[in-house]
């Protein structure tokens, strides 16, 4: 459904040197600087997949989304989405997708969200029946009935993002691009949005491509992730594989029944150690051994084995890959 081959995108800047002479030179013969935001990027996405794009700030995620939606043309390489070339901006193509950018609103600030929905109905030429049905369904899911008549500017950030999503889905897009959809939202709203995206994907087989800073978004939604760093694809695969690859550790936390001093030698790195509780980083292959030893020697009240904290993992990804 989406085929991207050897994509490249350059940005050109004119650099201005300091001083009056620099200004003059800037006017007549500016020094051109090229910055490559995305290079030799290829991937394929099948219908109904949810794919996460992750990477540090300025890695090229947004540039990639902008090329996929046709907002900017690529410098080199090809994109094929359902047989369309995005940068040609055919109306039929633009009717098939939706793009939600956490930072940019399509809603009319001074008017109730319902007005923006009606505008979209005309822009996307949505038949009355389909519009009514979708609107009702979406409004029910997000429980925003009460806010439909309120000016958008008076809505909270979470309510606004929900309206943003409703506005984008009225025309039943086959692909949804989301750029940082949960940025700045509170935990409850984030969860609701995640749950909703999952539902849309399952019920309508909508293909979803999203970028996010919150690993929780990616972890709970995406079957497949693509890691981008410095414009290049550095990883493609499942979340679990990635975690295994970059994080060979598990976190083991043990709570003792009575105060003890752990004297036996363990192949671990202690993160916390006191008479009632120890917390340690353990190599995945050695978890069984360590736990066994602890059970043999001490009275254990509680034991928890967890993956390393995801934020740490991500930092590592960017550092290591």
């Amino acid at each position: 459904m989406i085929r991207v081959n050897h994509l490249k995108r350059d940005y050109y800047f004119k650099e201005k040197e300091p001083g009056f002479k620099g200004s003059l030179r800037y006017l007549f013969k500016p020094k051109k600087v090229t910055k490559t935001a995305v290079k030799d990027f290829s991937f394929h996405i099948k219908k109904g997949e949810i794919v996460g794009l992750i990477g540090p700030n300025g890695a090229g995620k947004t540039t990639l989304i902008k090329m996929l939606t046709g907002i900017i043309p690529p410098s080199e390489g090809t994109i094929d989405i359902m047989g369309f070339v995005p940068s040609e901006l055919k109306d039929d193509f633009r009717k098939k997708y939706a793009v939600i950018m956490g930072q940019k609103s399509q809603l009319w600030w001074d008017l109730p969200a319902l007005d923006s929905f009606q505008l979209n109905k005309e822009i996307y030429q949505i038949p009355d029946a389909q519009y009514e049905k979708n609107l009702k369904e979406l409004v029910d899911i997000f429980e925003v009935e009460a806010f439909l008549q309120k000016q958008v500017r008076q809505l909270s950030l979470g309510q606004r993002m929900k309206m943003e999503i409703i506005a984008s889905l009225l025309h039943d897009p086959e692909v949804i691009f989301l750029d940082e959809p949960t940025i700045g939202l509170d935990g409850v709203a984030q969860k609701q949005i995640r749950k909703f995206l999952k539902k849309v994907n399952e019920e309508r087989h909508t293909t979803i491509i999203l970028t996010s800073h919150y690993m929780e978004d990616i972890k709970s939604l995406c079957e497949r992730i693509i890691v981008i760093n410095d414009g290049e694809k550095v990883y493609e695969g499942t979340y679990q594989d990635l975690v295994n690859k970059v994080s060979p550790y598990k976190i083991v936390e043990v709570v003792f029944e009575i105060a003890v001093e752990v004297l036996i030698e363990l192949p671990v790195e202690y993160m916390e150690k006191n008479p009632y509780k120890i917390k340690m980083k353990v190599d995945k292959s050695k978890v069984n051994e360590v736990v066994g030893q602890l059970f043999n020697h001490y009275a254990i009240e509680d034991l928890a084995i967890e993956e390393e904290d995801i934020t740490d993992v991500v930092e590592k990804i960017y550092r290591d890959i």
């Binding site: 940005y11 902008k66 901006l89 109306d91 793009v99 940019k104 008017l111």
Partner: protein, 263 residues
Amino acid sequence: MRRYIRLVGILFKFKLSRSMIYSGNFWMAFIVDFFLFVFQLVAFVSIYQFIDTINGWDLNQMFVFIGTFSIVDSMAMGTFFFGIINLPEKIRTGSLDIMIAKPIDTQFFVSAESFNPGSLFGIITGSCMVMYGLSSGGYVVSMIQVLGYILLLIMMYLLFYSMMLIVRTLAFIFVKINTLTQVEDSVIEFAFRIPGTAFKGISKVIFMVIIPYGLIATVPTEHITNMLEPSQWLIVTGITLFFFGLARFMFKFGMGRYTSASS
């Protein structure tokens, strides 16, 4: 086509209901324009105290001219003006992205996004001025002439639209075009507000052909006061079509160069 007409309707309604919320703004642009109209009138009436004609135009023709200017200006302010004027800002901040992603013509969307219904009242005051000038000048106007006048108004409206858009599409390439819009401001202020008859020689070529702001209010005025030669229709139509096409081309070309404010 029908879809676009419906969209215009909806966008117009939006702006209307928005102006209901901020009722002060509804009249603001009209009031500002109305005062400028009065000042322009006072200025020329004052000047005509000392002279009889400016290059053959008497005070009554000047009334028709000022009224015509006000009509075209109000049409522009009421429809595309505020949408177009924000284009460079949209390019600079990348908020054009959302508009590009919609399945309608982006140029249309940008142009029709910011109607300003209050300004349209200027068409009425302008028309009154034109009628006053015609009647006190003793002009007898035929129905055909009125139709021709309206047709010319529409053409000049399109020319004004094209000129404004062309300047602003340059923001796709240069991002900051403040100097350019400043020059445009002063050109509009004079070339648009003073009768084209004032231009001679090289300046006539500049303001009537190369940057034809001088045509906009002048040509309809000349037509209705029997001064426009039939052959000039051709030239005026040609210029309008040329600039309209150029604006379209520049917009398309600019979109290809659009980089969207870097992520």
